[in-house]
């Protein structure tokens, strides 16, 4: 067993709020500089930059998990981590089916583009990606787990788009694998992790979590969140 540094909440330029400098290659370059072992690409309501980032990451020894930062109908931001590429593809289909298709003006909010390895634009998303899905937080949690994924309410201590801002408190019948905290970690009923929520390259790794794992993978992270077979969260950055 070894310790691994993971930052599981990073946006790319596909998110309208993500800096145009956040190409998959730039994300990997900064993850290397910050000595991260595992990252997750978690754009708003889309997984479309996960695969490219993962293949660039693989060439540099960085494990990239498939993820999305999903906006529920209640406007709660939730990280969903998927076990593999196949699950991510199924989740992408589910996201598309539950989109509220809010029309979008890129001149105001920024472009939402899917790029390839040479940084050519493959696709421009024409609806506002961060808009609330038609699916409730319960439905998102259920779909994440149906696909073998992890459900992690994002930045729960922030005053906007968090489970506590939107719903007042955490509903106890939601199955929550961990919560993402940005500020001081209080005594919680759930494992607490820290991630950067980076929108600019220099923010990558500004917060991360150190895990004790057998190898850097989705399943090992899942075990660590459950505290199984010696896998565990070692520490979080202040």
């Amino acid at each position: 067993m070894k310790t691994y540094r993971a930052d599981l909440h990073i946006h790319t330029l596909l998110s309208p709020c993500g800096s145009l400098e956040m190409s998959p290659a730039a994300v990997i370059a900064m993850a290397l500089e910050r000595e991260l072992d595992i990252i997750a690409v978690s754009d708003h309501n889309t997984t479309l930059h996960c695969a490219l980032t993962a293949s660039i990451g693989a060439e540099h020894g960085i494990i990239v998990l498939n993820a999305a930062e999903v906006t529920s109908a209640e406007e709660v931001h939730c990280l969903v981590l998927l076990p593999d590429r196949e699950a991510a593809a199924l989740f992408q289909e589910w996201l598309d089916n539950n989109s509220s298709n809010v029309p979008y003006d890129p001149e105001i909010f920024g472009y939402q583009v899917v790029i390839d390895r040479e940084e050519n634009i493959l696709q421009e998303i024409d609806h506002f990606l961060p808009a609330a899905l038609t699916a409730s937080i319960d439905q998102i949690e259920a779909e994440a787990h149906r696909l073998g994924g992890l459900f992690i309410p994002a930045h729960i201590d922030r005053p906007s788009f968090s489970i506590t801002s939107q719903l007042g408190f955490i509903p106890e019948d939601l199955y929550i694998d961990a919560v993402e905290v940005t500020g001081k970690i209080q005594e919680l009923l759930y494992p607490a992790i820290r991630n950067s929520d980076a929108h600019h390259p220099e923010q990558i790794g500004r917060r991360y979590t150190t895990y004790l794992l057998d190898s850097p993978s989705f399943s090992e992270i899942a075990m660590a969140l459950k505290g199984e077979s010696g896998r565990t969260i070692i520490s979080v950055t202040p």
Partner: protein, 112 residues
């Protein structure tokens, strides 16, 4: 004024919590952030929100609110309805958008 009076005057739909229709209303509060309602709504007020998650009932019970009104023809989920029945806090609905509902309720409660 009681909850049943505003149901009648604003032609609201009663989804659940019928037991609480006789509750006395002291005012109104409008917000879609449950954390904000938790911090600021006064007891006895009618709360207007587009949120339909079951936590609205927990917040309404905690703050001893008179009723919850959901505008824009949105419907509460089954668990919200059953929790509302348990707490006896009415969940009401209308096809009016929130802006119109706020105005009409304000007029009604301020007696204008």
């Amino acid at each position: 004024m009681k909850v049943t009076d505003i149901v009648q005057k604003l032609d609201l739909q009663v989804f659940s919590g019928h037991e609480g229709l006789g509750r006395e209303i002291t005012g109104g509060y409008s917000s879609d952030l449950l954390s904000n309602v938790m911090g600021n709504a006064d007891a006895g007020t009618v709360w207007i929100t587009i949120q339909t998650h079951r936590n609205i009932i927990a917040i309404a019970a905690l703050k001893e609110l008179a009723a919850v009104i959901i505008p824009s023809d949105e419907k509460p989920g089954d668990d919200t309805v059953s929790q509302s029945d348990v707490e006896g806090i009415p969940v009401l609905g209308t096809c009016m958008p929130a802006f119109e509902l706020n105005g009409k309720l304000y007029d009604l409660l301020s007696g204008s």
